[in-house]
């Protein structure tokens, strides 16, 4: 069983699942179900990352996408209604914008190198083999190159990213805590009201 066709087959099947989920999410009216399907969506895209050998990215996507963001979306769903309100009039303009951006992106993928082919310019650049050869053997002896590049070669950027995460938390705290006086017992501890749909 040649390696490439196996990977290709799994890729195609997973991508078709992804497309079908996306269509269902768009079509469904019950927001609660849409949140659940978005949980599967991120789980599937994490599966695709593994098939394409990007294990660190798949790790993060699985933990954040399928875990935390589903919970946070459910919490917001608790504070808002559960049934999508119908749009006042058919949305033509967003459709046009979506089609234009989709078309532009499709057009742009024409001149991208095929996935993983060695003659792509990014592989030819001397920096690439500098990292691969020296990063592993001479300087760092860190088997996981991603961590060595992420932590040491671009350590300063990662420090910046950590502060970005820090500011995100501060922003959420400012937004959410602004209305302290309205806080009632939280939805998690409150008992389900009787007969309230």
């Amino acid at each position: 069983m040649p390696e490439v066709t196996v990977e290709l087959f799994v890729d195609i099947v997973l991508f078709s699942f992804l497309v079908s989920i996306a269509l269902t999410i768009a079509r469904i009216r019950n927001l609660f179900v849409a949140v659940m399907l978005s949980g599967i969506f991120s789980l599937l895209s994490a599966g695709l990352f593994t098939v394409m050998d990007a294990v660190d990215v798949a790790f993060t996507e699985a933990a954040v996408g399928a875990g935390i963001s589903t919970v946070l979306m459910l919490l917001t769903l608790d504070l808002t209604t559960e049934q999508e309100t119908d749009p006042i009039q058919p949305q033509i303009f967003p459709l046009i914008v979506a089609l234009c951006t989709g078309g532009a992106m499709l057009y742009a993928t024409q001149d991208m190198p095929a996935f993983g082919d060695p003659s792509a310019p990014v592989h030819q650049h001397p920096l690439a083999d500098h990292f691969i050869n020296t990063a592993l053997q001479v300087e760092m002896h860190v088997p996981n190159m991603v961590t060595s590049v992420l932590g040491s070669y671009r350590g300063y950027d990662t420090l910046g990213e950590t502060t970005v995460v820090f500011t995100a938390a501060v922003a959420v705290m400012l937004l959410m805590r602004g209305r302290r006086r309205f806080s009632q017992p939280s939805t998690i501890d409150a008992e389900p009201e009787e007969g309230v749909s």
Partner: protein
């Protein structure tokens, strides 16, 4: 030997497809949750078997994380589905 893993992979993908169709068809909300739960366990299997297919065992860490995140996701969904659905008063006493 490799072709056997591919067969198992195809079987798991077919199960995921069927679970997906149930997730979309499911008349009640709980059918969908059931399908989501099954889908999660099957992704764990897909990753583990695919890791063996391309003999890269470090995929197993990922399968481990998947199994847990899937469990947390289902518990979260149930937590809020039971809360928003029309439930009668809380009956069973909870050991405090």
């Amino acid at each position: 030997m490799i072709s056997l893993f591919f067969v198992v992979n195809v079987a798991v993908l077919v199960t995921m497809g069927i679970a997906l169709s149930r997730a979309m068809l499911g008349p009640t909300r709980f059918d969908r949750i059931l399908a989501v739960n099954m889908f999660g366990t099957k992704t764990v299997l897909l990753i583990a078997v695919y890791g063996f297919l391309t003999n890269r065992p470090e995929f197993l860490d990922l399968a481990l994380v998947y199994a847990l995140i899937n469990f947390i996701g289902v518990i979260a969904v149930l937590k809020f589905s039971a809360y928003t659905a029309m439930t009668d008063a809380e009956t069973d006493e909870v050991p405090r």
